[in-house]
Symmetry: C2
Subunit: 303 residues, 2 copies
């Protein structure tokens, strides 16, 4: 089964990621120029331009290209997705939630700017993200753009990020958390936006039904694997290496995969999910090389 989906040995993931990141960072920078009130735009830029991996926007651009369009048409949406993701990081770090001090290798927003500005910078990024998609996407039928907005609105809202954070907080400190509950939390907290990133790219690229189905299943598996890896690294890594607070899951008695399944079984599950994700893309051959390589790189950190 796997023979179809091995990435070409000529595919240079590091170079690919570097050039995509540079493109996304430059566009993000231009989309949030410094205006009045300056403190607010500075707070938005502080968190947004802090050098994240840009995994979600890169997935969006790659899915758009795989579906047959130029990556450019998905660039505003890719940047909007990073704004939504950053909003959720800023709000999740607040004292009333995870109370984290460290994010992307810097002080968390509320530690740097105070709570009020952190909340409003998050709100601003969320509102601005939809404006960016609606105003800056060109070369695509308007109906497709509306479908993207509906998808991302859902992924950011109570059925996605916000709902996942509520469930996460609800299950903190509980002794028994089932694998089903854990999967539901992670599906909302990570899977929803990651899947929406891939699907948005597919929609903008004009993917047909079967392609959208394959990309959706790829993204769902990747999203869950990604969160399991994140849980594992919170146990095994350091703040310096990750650029965010670690060990908090255990101290807050968060529902995590290592806690419920153990480290070894969690690692095995992440590997299996990535193999399944790659399998979905077998039929696309070389066109899927970036997405296949991205899936593999997700679990490289725990190998």
């Amino acid at each position: 089964m796997l023979m179809h989906v091995e990435p070409s040995h000529s595919f240079d993931l590091a170079a690919y990621l570097g050039s995509r990141r540079a493109r996304i960072d430059a566009t993000l920078e231009s989309l949030i120029a410094l205006e009045e009130p300056r403190v607010l735009f500075e707070a938005m830029r502080y968190s947004l331009l802090a050098g994240g991996k840009r995994l979600r926007p890169i997935l969006c651009l790659a899915a758009c290209e795989l579906s047959g369009a130029r990556a450019e048409v998905a660039l505003p949406t890719a940047c909007a997705i990073e704004m939504i993701h950053t909003m959720s990081l800023i709000h999740d770090d607040l004292p009333a939630m995870d109370d984290a001090d460290c994010r992307r290798g810097r002080l968390a927003s509320h530690k740097m700017h105070g709570e009020a500005l952190a909340i409003l910078a998050g709100d601003s990024l969320l509102a601005h993200s939809f404006e960016v998609i609606a105003r800056h996407t060109s070369g695509v039928p308007a109906k497709r753009i509306l479908a993207v907005i509906a998808e991302l609105g859902r992924a950011a809202g109570p059925r996605g990020l916000a709902g996942g954070q509520v469930e996460d907080l609800t299950h903190e400190g509980k002794r028994c958390v089932s694998v089903e509950t854990l999967e539901d939390i992670h599906h909302r907290k990570t899977g929803a936006l990651l899947t929406a990133s891939v699907l948005s790219g597919a929609l903008l690229g004009g993917a047909d039904g079967p392609t959208k189905g394959r990309l959706r299943r790829y993204a769902e598996r990747l999203g869950l694997a990604f969160q399991i890896v994140d849980d594992i690294l919170d146990v095994t890594s350091t703040c310096e290496a990750l650029g965010k607070s670690v060990g908090r899951d255990a101290s807050a008695q968060k529902a995590t995969y290592p806690r419920v399944l153990g480290l070894a079984e969690s690692t095995r599950l992440a590997e299996a999910l990535i193999a399944d994700a790659k399998d979905e893309l077998g039929c696309f051959g070389e066109r899927a090389a970036p997405l296949v390589a991205l899936a593999e790189s997700t679990i490289a950190a725990i190998r």
Copy 2:
């Protein structure tokens, strides 16, 4: 000048508002059914279905009709606007911001549900609002819907609500605030969403350029008058009458019109703005009766 714009004596504003409110409330109720996580959907519904005046959605529907389309096409957008407005109320009331206990005659969201849920209920309403517009608007060209989303994203973001709240907090406790600063704060905090409500209705209704211009100027004047009246009522009214905390502006040394201009001059200014707002609609005759009557009702509370 004013002879063109007096509302018809046959126009029954109370009946009009009652039927519009019922329609909007029923749609809002259906747009946020109770799902998991239940506590989150309950928190969203608690603030959204607390019986607000629904001024912004009613303005949106009225502008759509004045522009020549059925109000129905603007109903999802009208409801989305109320979600955005409610989000800003929930977040503005948080301890890190205005720290208000009372809203729409009930405990503020953070007092009822705790800070984390209040923040996430606000985030959820904001994200959901854009999904609602993109998914539920029908009978309108997709390009117009994108223009509405761009307009509302701007009004909710750093150039609108969020930016206005930042400026408001920045100027708290300052001795000297100029009328220009005050106007800028109010333009963002109230004017931006109110103007976007009217403009969204105009866009969905297919208004031509001159009609959009007149409606925009009407809305800008109405929005400023509305905020001045709000400032005045904070000085002269009670929590029971308003359904929200009063006297907070003075105790927090907020920048307000009564503080900068005095009560008498503030009242005169509000009256003049409403007269100008009505003037803009003179050429539409009877079609503008609801918008004219709405403008008049805004200042009735301070007469």
